[in-house]
């Protein structure tokens, strides 16, 4: 009878598989594009994969579908294990750890709620390495009796890790390869697209198609070219890289603007050429600067420094560029 009461107090273990369905992929796509940002979550709790025994390993992850699915899909068919899903409010491991929701408190709490100690014989939890920012291994041990073992940074290395319970130095390092940089692109695009459309349309009517294309080029350079070219642009700061890239993109526009139409005064030609050089680089640089948040390289101290070093330059260039643009538009409309 006491057994029955016990099963009432601990929630059931949810069975899961390592197989991703079409609807899982659909969910991932929507998550990557930033649709329904806080809606990609699984229920926190204990999951079982392939009929685990009390000796099976326990992996810990966040209740963001991309995190949870990365773990289960990277595990081999024959692997029997438990997956303990923490309540991170649908945020991935890295960001949740930074905020402390993927943290010591939630981990210890979830161990108790799920009755994990009664389900397994051992006292070892395998956490993603990037969760270490929010979890204190020695505190967890003190509070729950479970020893925290930090697995590899990437879920894809889990199978290899399990063989020896040792991560190679490569498995311990974060990378930011071109694929990882490119998955950021859709979310950024969705964020920037409304501005891009509105600004391009306004510019189209105020100064013509060239200006509209220039605005679009500056923004797309920031969200698409910048992450691709990040390691190859020869400066250190994200903003200066963005300025360089934006300047390069602006050059043909400056040239085209200089040659555009027949005007009596050379100063009009020159002002037309200067406008894209003033407007485009700060736009690209601003978008580039925002990538600091998506990378796992930039320190808070550094980003703060970047912001204070460059935002004023961006603002001044942008303001004077806008001023020349407005003056030129007025001259054009008044038929000067």
């Amino acid at each position: 009878m006491s057994g029955t009461i016990f099963t009432f107090t601990t929630p059931p273990v949810h069975p899961t598989t390592n197989h991703l369905t079409l609807s899982d992929h659909w969910d991932h796509l929507r998550a990557r594009v930033g649709i329904n940002r806080s809606g990609h979550l699984v229920e926190p709790g204990l999951y079982s994969l392939g009929n685990p025994t009390p000796d099976s390993p326990v992996f810990v992850t966040a209740n963001y579908t991309l995190s949870f699915d990365a773990v289960r899909s990277s595990l081999d068919d024959w692997m029997k294990c438990y997956i303990l899903v923490l309540d991170t409010k649908g945020i991935n491991v890295w960001c949740a750890a930074g905020k402390g929701t993927f943290g010591t408190g939630e981990l210890v709490n979830r161990i108790h709620i799920t009755g994990l100690a009664d389900k397994v014989n051992h006292r070892v939890l395998i956490l993603p390495q990037l969760g270490a920012t929010g979890v204190s291994a020695h505190e967890v041990k003190k509070l729950s009796g479970f020893r925290v073992e930090y697995g590899p940074v990437r879920a894809a290395d889990l199978s290899a890790y399990l063989k020896t319970h040792k991560a190679t130095p490569e498995m311990r390092r974060v990378q930011f390869n071109v694929i990882e940089r490119l998955v950021l692109f859709p979310v950024e695009l969705v964020k920037v697209l409304p501005y891009l459309l509105v600004i391009s349309i306004i510019l189209y009517f105020a100064s013509g198609p060239l200006a509209a294309a220039g605005a679009a080029a500056a923004m797309l350079a920031g969200i698409f070219l910048f992450p691709i070219l990040l390691p190859f642009i020869p400066t250190k700061d994200f903003s200066s890289k963005g300025f360089l890239l934006g300047g390069l993109i602006a050059l043909p526009f400056a040239l085209a603007a200089y040659r555009y139409g027949i005007e009596p005064a050379p100063c009009i030609h020159i002002s037309r050429a200067i406008t894209p050089m003033l407007l485009m680089p700060p736009v690209t640089a601003f978008i580039s600067l925002n990538f600091t948040g998506s990378t796992t390289f930039t320190s808070v101290t550094g980003v703060r420094k970047e912001i204070s070093t460059y935002t004023r330059v961006m603002a001044w260039m942008f303001a004077s560029g806008t001023a020349t643009l407005i003056i030129l538009a007025i001259l054009r409309i008044t038929g000067w």
């Binding site: 979890v135 930090y150 974060v174 980003v303």
Partner: protein
């Protein structure tokens, strides 16, 4: 001026280190390297101030001011006058 990442807030006191190796395990940038009696600060500039080492050092040998390196959050903090930039879950969070 053109390298904003020349300094950070990481501090390490080798005297307190018991060479448990946790910091070398958790650091995603190999800032710490194993040593004979205590770990070595091998690549100080690579530190991104994530705080994982401080969090997992059992003796308090490491301190670092960690925070969210998110520019959106910092602009927001600068504009609203709040000093601690954080990402909000649920609302327009910068990371997901």
């Amino acid at each position: 001026m053109f390298d904003s990442y020349r300094s950070n807030t990481l501090q390490y006191d080798p005297v307190k280190c018991i060479n448990c190796g946790m910091c070398t395990t958790v650091c995603p940038h190999a800032v710490f390297a194993p040593g004979e009696n205590e770990v070595r600060l091998a690549d100080y500039l690579a530190c991104m101030e994530c705080g994982a080492c401080q969090m997992n050092c059992p003796t308090g040998a490491i301190t670092v001011e960690s925070g969210v390196g998110c520019a959106y959050a910092m602009f927001y903090a600068a504009l609203t006058g709040k000093d601690e930039p954080t990402c909000g879950a649920g609302d327009d969070a910068c990371c997901s």
